[in-house]
Symmetry: C2
Subunit: 338 residues, 2 copies
DNA sequence: CCAAATAACTAAACCGGTTTAGGTAATTAT
DNA sequence: ATAATTACCTAAACCGGTTTAGTTATTTGG
């Protein structure tokens, strides 16, 4: 507030800015500043609660102790938790985070990356729209420290922390098969996102491995999925191809789907078993509670923060660049298993 | 990336840093720089996608176009939405936001405020723990631009954007009374937070106004509420004082409470009607869907961003400092009203 | 006793911009 | 023909730190 500067301390103690700066950066001993002088400086600084101007320091050091976080949407609980964990870990390690939502828009994401770069962040954590191959490649080429979280570019070799989307859906599908479901449907978005492609593949591959003949994938439009869910559910529960189980590829699709199933008086799990990939905080309160595949979100976030900061500070660098964390299936009553 | 600086442009065009800086800041005409020169500068800058070092600019201008956001916890959907909206509005107005969670800890909050200040943010938006009276007063005394959101210090005269917590609970209580409920209970946290005090007051005052004799408030510990909910619900549904309606003072208490009610095979709304202050995204999927009081969170956030930026830029300043926005009651089936 | 080493400290350049206070040369006014 | 403007541009200070390359006075070593 009533800001005090380095030169003020120096002037008041009859010393040079250099001495004060060295001491306050704990280089006093190294620079052989006498203990008495050091004490004087520390005391005076503390008494007037001096704290260095971060811009000035950043400018001269070329480092800001600030990380940029770009997510599709922090209002989404998935990313909110990621943000929270990253911020927490990051704060412990002496960094601050600036964030921005790309709204799943590649152009916005590109702009945000550039904005963050000229704000001189020391590194970036990006949950990418996955349509900025070039920007990401550029970051890599320029050796700018960054890590991808939640979504990665399989074709670019960089630090990526993701969860096992493929394996997660596999677990879910196997679970349903084991419970005797034969006509399992899959509701997802029509998207280029690697995660969604992998989830679909997890479903299809598992069916094939188990020689299941029936398969039915509904891919809703990324924007109009809200309106399209009604027709999709209608298709899935009527006609000859009525399903006896449904996997939703992400939490909000599950929520929408459940609403429709309810409207159609479908009994879960008797008529249709339901598994959700990702969950919302109230899924265990629903009747029946929804069996869900959950991602180790917190762990992913902490790891991303650590890997990034380590790579910034050139400490021990992770050996394998892509780290795939296991998902967990929480079995509740929506599949009739208990 | 392959960073280009002002002096590079200057050197390449045989001009001075001054000229280049003026032109790129659109002060070319004002400074009577010839159109030809201006064009050369703009072109060269664009071609080499120059963008000014934010630290340097901030240091010399004393302004960073960065806002600090301090919330109790961004993982909480309530604050996640606030963060998202603030970031969105703020981005439109040319600012960036750095955020941090105080974890409802006043000391941490104090530290965060100081950290943000020496990071030279231009202003702060704080959803305060409300136990940092002094820090807030200090901000005010030093004319540092800030606005309180969601929670305010009634005793400090500053910009505050809050919702009508008192009126919200009043609506809920009145609703229950009108539906013929006579023994309405209130579950909340034992907290000094003004919002929670107001919600309790809204409940108690409405009962009094309607000459209801019965009242029962359960105040759970702020940390152990999770464990305490079981006993609280037990008390509320057993003995002579069995309630026929419950109001939960915040979304996560509702979630916990519903879990307990379910465990005890309570029929909602037949045995007990339920209203939640604040909701979770799946509350409308529950059986029955939960009647909720919702706060105009998005509006609050946008307003906070606008008020802050306006006060930073000394544009039109809001006339009344405390802005109380109306809540809305979404009537679902948990009170038996339809 | 003098040279070398050391202790304690500092001047000044630098980071990359913005801004103030001019400086020339060409035009206009008288 | 000379003074006053004007058009166009710039040197240098400044923002508040960090860091390099010394300086000076005192010890130590031979």
């Amino acid at each position: 507030m009533k800001t005090i500067f380095l030169k003020d301390i120096a002037k008041h103690l009859g010393l040079s800015k250099t001495t004060v700066s060295l001491v306050l950066n704990n280089k006093g001993d190294e620079a052989k500043i006498s203990t008495i002088t050091q004490k004087k400086i520390f005391d005076y600084a503390k008494r007037n609660n001096y704290s260095p101007n971060h811009l000035a320091r950043g400018l001269s050091r070329g480092k800001t102790e600030t990380l940029g976080l770009i997510v599709p949407n922090i209002a989404d609980s998935h990313y909110a938790v990621i943000a929270q964990q990253i911020e927490e870990r990051t704060k412990e390690m002496g960094y601050t985070v600036v964030f921005s939502s790309s709204n799943e828009n590649p152009k916005d994401e590109g702009k945000l990356i550039r904005t963050m770069l000229n704000r001189q962040v020391d590194g970036l954590i990006i949950a990418s729209t996955q349509q900025n191959h070039n920007e990401i490649e550029l970051l890599k080429k320029n050796n700018f420290p960054f890590v991808l979280i939640d979504r990665h570019y399989p074709e670019i070799d960089t630090y990526s922390i993701i969860s096992d989307n493929f394996g997660g859906v596999k677990k879910a599908t196997r679970h349903l098969i084991e419970l005797g479901r034969h006509k399992i449907g899959f509701v997802t978005l029509d998207s280029k996102l690697e995660v969604l492609k992998l989830r679909k593949k997890g479903y299809l591959d598992t069916l094939k491995q188990n020689n299941m003949e029936f398969s039915m994938v509904k891919e809703l439009d990324q924007i109009r999925y809200n309106q399209e869910m009604e027709a999709a559910i209608h298709d899935l529960i009527n006609g000859t191809n009525t399903v006896d189980a449904l996997i939703f590829s992400t939490h909000y699709l599950t929520a929408l789907g459940l609403r429709e199933l309810k409207k159609n008086k479908i009994n879960i799990p008797k008529d249709i078993a339901v598994v959700s990939f990702d969950e919302m905080s109230a899924f265990d309160l629903l009747d029946p509670p929804i069996t869900s595949i959950i991602q180790p979100v917190k762990q992913m976030a902490k790891q991303a923060a650590e890997v990034l900061i380590n790579s910034i500070e050139n400490k021990l660098i992770m050996e394998q660049k892509v780290n795939v964390l296991e998902t967990e299936m929480i079995i509740r009553k929506s599949c009739g298993s208990n």
